[in-house]
Amino acid sequence: MGKTILVVDDNPILLTQMTRMLEAEGHKVATAKDGFSALNMLASLTPDVVFVDLIMPNIGGDNLCRLVRKMPHLKDCFLVVVSAAVVEQEFDYRGIGADACIAKGPFDLMKGHIREVIRESDLGQTPQSGRDIRGIETVAVRRITQELLSKSHHLETVLETIPEGVVEVLEGKVVYVNSTAARLFQMEPDGFLGKKFTVLFPRRLQREIISLLETPPGEVSRLGEGEPLSLFDREVTFQCLSMEEVNTKLVIITDVTKYKTVERALKEAMEYNENILHTMADSLVVLKPDLSISYVNRATCDMLGFSPHELFGKQIDQLFFEALSFEEELFESVIRNGVVTEPSMAYRSKAGKRIPVSFLASAMYNDQAPKRNLLGIICIAHDLRKVEQLQQQLFQAEKIASFGVLAAGVAHEIKNPLAIILQGLETLSSGLKSDSGRAMAPDIIARIQKAALRANKIVEGLLDFSRQSPPEFVAADLLEVLRESLTLVEHHFKSSRVTVEERPADVSHRLPMDVNQIKQVFINIMVNAAEAMTSGGKLTIETGDGRHPDGKRFVQVVFADTGPGIAPEMLNKIFEPFFTTKTKSLNTGLGLSVSQGIIERHRGDLRFESESGNGTRVILTLPAE
């Protein structure tokens, strides 16, 4: 009886030969040139026998057999493998679900086997009872075939081993898939063959896959490079190679999940660091070795009112409020010692405002070893305005507190002149009644006036005292300030016939100070000296420097006069407010207590050495840093 037979072989001559032979024997014959076309046909064809060539493109014979065996409507189909390679290659046709196997040889010899198997298909013989490969004895081993098979096997091994997924797509359907790709799609390889490629993807990706497959011949297109696509639980990128010679497309699927995870972790770490710099309350400025700005954090921009690009590339000294005379030394010191602090510095805001800061610079190297490559310098500036504000408040509080102490002194100092005025007015009013009394009036009036003026001076001294403010530190040269103060009091010396001799030491007199306040102190000391030397004398001013036991450097000025000196019992009273040994008309007695306060706020020291009759030495010490 005539059967429906499908012959699948990429060799057109064999196809023709078999068709002619089988049709002559009354069978209906359909042909396909590869596994792919065969599958298409088998969708609607139910042949009784299928002859399958083993080695074909676009779904090879072994895969085709496996697929056929999976199709329910073909369960009774008799599968015959026809292969040229059965001699050179180990082959278990039963393992792939075939019922028989014929070795390809001269066609005449094959005919007999062909008829044989058709007959056996009728008998419904199961594969287990089938015989070995028919016709194998007529075929000789061919070395070329061996080598080609070996190479083909080798290539297939390579494809199976590479970590990339490889899918070959013909007319939109899968004809080959390697195990990596199968794993990525979470399917068995057999599940792919002959299926439409796009169907494998979730709906949201299908449009992109379709356009990927439309790659023109000879070109490569990519999908998901910047933003990988997520396929089940992995992140992947696609490459589609469209070859010119064949009309299949090769889709390479790369699993970038691990890479993307690392990238994300890195990005997170970077963002975290950025966040730290962004949140920092202090200003951070990073300099290149040439002292130009390479980075500023948000706090810097907030503090100074600049935007970051306004600062990039600028030299750091453009941020300083005053040109630092010691700037070169500062940065050399940073590079030498690694870290430098400048507790009283000022930045300049965009609007030109002075921003007092506590400055800290450190050198940044690679390899964390000194004297290696200097990468840059990190400058941190702590805004002192708030601190200064608090200091002001504290100072005010202290002043108010000290006023309580002062008030008693003030009361006394003003009450005395008032007592004189009142008593004097008594005397005057009773004196006016008599001639002798009236004669004394001018004298009485003069004394009353003196007292009134004195009271006024007390009040002024108190106002001066009340005007004290916390020191505003700048770096200045003590010697220059001293000389400026000298010019202000020169006339005192000339009128008292006092000569002044300067003996400045050859040291750096530069230190942080409030220039006006220190001038005030110098003036106070020098005027006192001049007033002590009522009958002339000499004032010697010596400077020097040294180190405290704790290592901190200081600068010292000593004023030595040739006046009468101060008696020992007075020495500890001289700083008391209102204490004065001078005629009460001119002096408020507040000068030294104010001076002492100023020096204390500079963290310095003011001391007197004196003996009666032996002159006085005033020793002023100020910290140099």
């Binding site: 009361a411 009450k415 008032l418 007592a419 007075m570």
Partner: protein, 127 residues
Amino acid sequence: MIRKKKILIIDDEEDFSHFLKMNLENTGRFKVFTAVDGQAGVKITQRKKPDVVLLDIMMPGMDGFEVLEKIKGNVKTYEIPVIMLTALDNKECRSEARGSFAGEYLVKPVPLDRLISTIDRVSIYGQ
């Protein structure tokens, strides 16, 4: 005729002593001596034996309380009433003054009549 009372003013404010001396002597009842510092004051107290001493507290060198100690610590002078006459007024000073001699304490500026009535009181009734 009633003897004029001898008053010693110990005060470093010369103009004040000057005026007070004139005002007291103008009443015709007092003879006034002055001392400009504590040491001189103690000496004059011993020599002249005034009826009343007017004593300032805030003076350079020996202050009023030291002078008071010296006067009260000397048999020749301890009976002499002392009026602390000072511009300094606070609780501590007052209680110290009272504690040391249960004497008078007046705060400058004090009206003349009040001063005179106090002088009269301490000199007649003692302390």
